[in-house]
Amino acid sequence: MALPQRKTDIGPPHYKQFLPAVIQKNYGKWKYHEVLTPGTMVHVGESGDKLWTVRVASPRILSTDTIREQCDIAEKYCDGHLRYTTRNNVEFLVADEKKLEPLKTELKAKGFKMGGIGPHITNVVHTQGWVHCHSACTDASGLVKAMMDELYEYFETKSLPNKVRLAVACCVNMCGAVHCSDIAVVAVHTKVPNINHETFKNMCELPTVIGSCPTRAISPDPAKKSIKINADKCMYCGNCFTVCPPISIKDPERDGVAIVVGGKINSLRTSPKFSKLVIPYISNEPPRWPKVVAAIKHIVEVYAKNAKKHERVGEWIERIGWERFFSLANIDFTFQSIDDFTFMRDTLRTSATFKW
């Protein structure tokens, strides 16, 4: 079976061929939209044309079987048109109002979950984890599944003051916009890496390894033709491990996750914000990470109870003050929450005004 002729540098196909007719017609001329249910919305063009969207949850890891199933549904109700969102949900694009309810019925029957539009929890931005990445110190997909099972009502029905964007990063490289999420989980190491001095000299470049360390914890060990790590300076970021395979940092009993909150991407009301550390460590507990899930649910609930309408998690916390967040959420305040890295100056309090 001969292979077809390869081409290079053709780039992606032009998007236009994938747009449904109603979009081609109303392209760039939408007038407004209405959210009908947490899983459906309608966009209305200046022409008066309407486009219904049904959003369906996705585990992001999709088998070709499931993709084909989605395609079959799109063919039946959407003239074969569908899209995925920037948070990896799938969206069925319906031009014909009559097909909307039947589509929803079929989706429901097939076990697809609709939701995530409006002030809800939508899909969790996450990364490879143990499924594919060498750097992972937890599993992202498993954490997401465990979290969303528990938070599911906020996807499908229950409203919140505003959107709550969740994310999981399986190491501090933080692939995804984890660092600006309302609530996110980031996996952390807690021990100084081990060095295989035997293989070091053949496999790693000394200056690269030394240069990789943000805290200058690494210095040459000329006797061993290798390096040594100053344990007092190492903050277990793993960057040396990334650039040099003989350095190993994984440790099943010590690896764990931290929880950061209060980040935001958009510029509505307040500027984009980084997420900030509130729980420094929870042990890795596959397959369901019960404490992590409980902590996130707890924070969502405290937010739901206390924030004003339209306030994002970070906006609410900045209004009440971080000291109040810690007391309201009854979270222990630890030394890890006090910045001692790049942003230290910004984050220490420089006024005698705060709440008891």
Binding site: L3, P4, Q5, R6, D9, G11, P12, P13, Y15, F18, L19, I23, G28, W30, H33, H43, P59, R60, L62, T64, I67, Q70, C71, D72, H81, L82, Y84, T86, N88, L93, G111, K113, W130, V131, H134, A136, C137, G142, V144, K145, M148, E156, V172, M174, A177, H179, C180, P214, P245, K250, P252, E253, I265, N266, S267, T270, P272, F274, P286, H310
Partner: protein, 408 residues
């Protein structure tokens, strides 16, 4: 096919949220690789540790990226994942597909790979999850011959990505889909052949909602905006007033406090509006931007490794974005030139700007200083002055002496 006992991950098939384990099992039914991936993952769960090795360099002829090499330490125990490389397919703008196209993608993937995908990866690619080295060339031939190309990886331009924009959104200020397509085509060489100091990401959002999270995770973040007034439909305002406390939810939440509502008429002092989008998003039928459309260019965001996360910084407060986007493309080339001259390996552009200073960067790309680029001016009085700076201050003072009027 060996059947693995996977009690831990089986637990993740329960519950309402769709299960990735179920997906893996579906794929495992037809693919030995996916089957071994299941056993391999169960092992990770039971030992609380990963077993993938550092990536090796694999790829397709003539390209330096698009494939992430991946090998397992447990290749003997799980031969199906001894090699388990991912292939990044460059997604179409806005993640729009037809079933026909998607099914074709699936068919090829089932033939050569694990049958598992990520739709999509965080950067935006359609990620094909797990194949062997020898399959890479065939995979590329099959896809490219059908109009699909690989995305970016390594120290290269990464696959540009965007929000749905004009495809389905009333707020977009430029054509995010077209711009993304156009830039991706323009910079094919930079995308496929890594010659940069490190990765470079471009993301485009049509407005300040930033639905593609550009400001946080793109070296070049393009955020749509406008220059005119917000047009108000007072009749629609009245409708909203029926179900909404306009003062509490809109006026009091306006960050610039440039709105007022007396129960009858909503007013906006447009001069003081910062175009944050809050009021517009909550009253989309009543409020609409008008006037000149374009975007703000921001630069430098990245994840926290190594010296802390960056959000992108405003570099060009306003640029018009219309095909063929010549001004933007020229600017991007100048940006890369400066980065190339000043960046060391593994230094993202934001980090280089931090080291070399915003001035050096802005001067190189020909952008003047503007207060929109900063949140606030510098605090410490340690400043660089060029000879020209001082000469120009002196010239201004000489002029003032003549005119008798100061210009500050």
């Amino acid at each position: 096919m060996k059947k693995y006992n996977t009690p831990l991950i089986d637990d993740l098939e329960k519950g309402p949220w769709p299960s990735f384990v179920t997906e893996m099992k579906k794929a495992a039914k037809r693919s030995e690789m996916s089957n071994d991936a299941l056993g391999h993952l169960e092992k990770c769960y039971s030992t609380k540790m990963g077993y993938w090795k550092h990536g090796g360099i694999v790829g397709v002829l003539g390209y330096g990226g698009g494939v992430i090499g991946r090998y397992s330490e447990l290749g003997n125990e799980f031969p199906g994942v001894a090699h388990f490389h991912t292939v990044r397919l460059n997604q179409p703008s806005g993640f729009f597909y037809t079933s026909k196209a998607l099914k074709e993608i699936c068919d090829i993937w089932d033939k050569y790979g694990s049958g598992l995908t990520n739709v999509h990866g965080s950067t935006g690619d359609l990620v094909l999850l797990g194949t062997k080295t020898e399959a890479l060339e065939p995979i590329f031939a099959e896809y490219s011959s059908r109009g699909w190309d690989l995305g970016g990886s390594g120290s290269a331009l990464r696959t540009p990505s965007c929000c749905v924009g004009p495809g389905r959104c009333e707020w977009t200020n430029y054509d995010t889909l077209d711009l993304t397509y156009n830039l991706t085509q323009e910079f094919q060489d930079e995308l496929h052949r890594p010659t940069f100091s490190y990765k470079f990401k471009i993301k485009s959002s049509g407005c300040a909602c930033d639905c593609v999270a550009a400001i946080a995770r793109a070296d070049l973040s393009i955020i749509g905006t406008w220059k005119g007034d917000i047009k108000i439909d007072q009749a629609e305002v009245k409708n909203y007033a029926k179900t909404m406390d306009i003062n509490a939810e809109i006026v009091n939440m306006c960050p610039t406090q440039c709105m007022s509502y007396d129960g009858k008429e909503l007013k906006i002092n447009n001069k003081e509006c910062s175009r944050c989008m809050h009021c517009i998003t909550r009253m989309t039928k009543a409020l609409r931007p008008s006037g000149e459309r374009g975007a703000t260019l921001c630069m430098g965001s990245k994840a926290p490794i190594v010296v802390g996360s960056l959000l992108s910084w405003v570099i060009v407060p306003f640029i018009k974005l219309e095909a063929p986007y010549t001004e933007l493309k020229d600017l991007i080339r100048k940006i890369w030139d400066w980065w190339d001259e000043n960046g060391k390996p593994r230094e993202r552009i934001g980090e280089v700007i931090e080291i070399k200073g915003m001035r050096s960067f802005l001067e190189a790309i020909g952008v003047p200083p503007q207060p929109q680029q900063i949140k606030e001016p510098r605090k410490d009085p340690f400043m660089f002055y060029t000879e020209e700076d001082v000469a120009s201050y002196k010239a201004k003072e000489a002029e003032e002496k003549k005119t008798g009027k100061y210009k500050f």
